[in-house]
């Protein structure tokens, strides 16, 4: 059986390398760069070209497959159903459920306001809604697989875990602070639409998933190109000394800088991962890179401006501070214990 076990782990490693990390694609692009462009893939220019082509193709393939799969799952959890499930729970259990459902509910920052209003007017505590709003952009199934592809499985799972913890604790804290008075009055007065439990046929789910792929692709492709472009530039052109002076493991401010720079930026995890990947390649701590990614995806100027329409300033400031503080702590935690994961 010893031989059998070894074979299974080898098969798994092969699947992981070829399907997830796409070693075949890396080799193919290396061949293209060397024989097609006449550049050395290990060299400076060739390395950047290789990073760019390989990462763009890899992310686009994963994006297509993952969004399709995830959307299929999501089609079972429309916001109306999520609201009903959450309404049946109380206390911490509701926050945990909200954080978990945040990972699988169809949601983009453009629908955060109707969702916020719909949840709140139905009587869900705002802390529960915030647990959902934090987890939703931060952790989703697609980002987990991507993290596993770029880094490895332990980092991906650790990322999900701390992301969920941040969502649960952040939402619970907001509940504790009794901030209901800082929600605009019209939110509570909005009617609750009797939720029609529209059962979808398989064909409708397929169409939903297909449309999601097209829509999300149309929205993120530019961010992916920009993200990979920045990643490729960091990879081979920005001096390592410069990056390590700013964000090096030994610099106490590295996580702080990464978080503050990331907060106003608007992009999703697909665009930020290549940057994080390149930064880690330059010796930046994994915690610093994760803090940057989380800050970019969880908080952004556009989403804050939208939220401002339904909540008053003190609650908005509290929300941003809690999430930022959480991200900074996660960053330092991973920098201290990250060696376990890499």
């Amino acid at each position: 059986m010893h031989v059998g076990g070894k074979t299974i782990s080898e098969v798994f490693k092969w699947l992981n390398d070829q399907l997830l990390r796409m070693q075949w694609l890396s080799d193919l692009v290396a061949w293209l760069v060397r024989d097609g462009f006449g550049l050395d893939p290990a060299g400076r220019l060739g390395g950047s070209v290789h990073f760019f082509i390989y990462d763009v193709i890899k992310i686009f393939i994963l994006l297509g497959v993952l969004i399709f799969t995830v959307s299929w799952v999501q089609s079972y959890f429309p916001p109306e159903r999520t609201r009903r499930i959450l309404g049946q729970r109380k206390g911490l259990g509701a926050n945990i459920m909200a954080a978990l459902l945040g990972t699988i509910t169809p949601f983009c920052s453009c629908s955060s306001i109707p969702l916020f209003i719909g949840f709140t007017s139905a009587g869900l505590p705002i802390g529960v809604t915030f647990s959902f709003l934090i987890s939703s952009p931060l952790v989703d199934l697609a980002s987990v697989i991507l993290l596993a592809s770029v880094f490895n499985w332990s980092i991906a799972l650790a990322y999900v875990f701390v992301g969920l913890v941040l969502a649960v604790l952040g939402g619970s804290l907001i509940s504790r602070m009794k901030m209901e008075g800082h929600v605009e009055a019209f939110v509570f007065n909005s009617p609750v639409l009797a939720s029609e439990d529209g059962h979808l046929t398989r064909r409708q789910r397929f169409e939903f998933a297909r449309d999601q792929v097209a829509e999300i692709f149309g929205k993120v492709w530019l961010y992916v190109l920009i993200g990979v472009g920045i990643g490729a530039a960091i990879h081979n052109w920005v001096p390592e000394a410069f990056i390590s002076a700013l964000l090096g493991q030994d610099k106490w401010w590295s996580v702080l800088v990464a978080t503050i720079v990331g907060i106003p930026m608007y992009a999703d995890i697909f665009g930020t991962l290549p940057i994080a990947e390149a930064l880690v390649g330059k010796g930046v701590g994994i915690g610093t890179a994760l803090a940057f990614m989380m800050a970019v995806t969880a908080l952004s100027l556009p989403s804050m401006i939208m939220l401002k329409r339904v909540v008053k300033l003190p609650l908005l400031v509290l929300f941003v501070s809690i999430v930022a503080a959480g991200i900074i702590m996660i960053g330092y935690f991973f920098n201290a214990f990250g060696a376990m994961f890499l």
């Binding site: 109306e80 169809p106 629908s111 109707p114 969702l115 209003i117 909005s190 329409r309």
Partner: protein, 78 residues
């Protein structure tokens, strides 16, 4: 008849508006298509996912782009 399209002005809202117009035209109904983009107004209908279709102040669908024939069914039901 007043048909309202609720949504932030995304591509899907435009598509839904076009389908609604086509369905109304085909049914020979003179309908005014109104686009509602303000969040507060959208929320006032209790809608959580956009685009949503409102016919004579009644929400008939949310979160999906109805095809021309689906809109026609809704029009016939009213």
């Amino acid at each position: 008849m007043i048909i309202k399209i609720l949504g932030s002005g995304c591509k899907k809202c435009i598509a839904l508006g076009e389908n609604a117009k086509a369905a109304a035209d085909a049914a020979g109904i003179s309908a005014e298509i109104v686009k509602v983009t303000d969040f507060a107004q959208i929320a006032a209908y209790g809608v959580m996912s956009t685009p949503a279709l409102v016919i004579d102040e009644k929400v008939v669908s949310a979160g999906k782009v109805l095809s021309v024939s689906e809109v026609a069914e809704q029009l016939a039901a009213i």
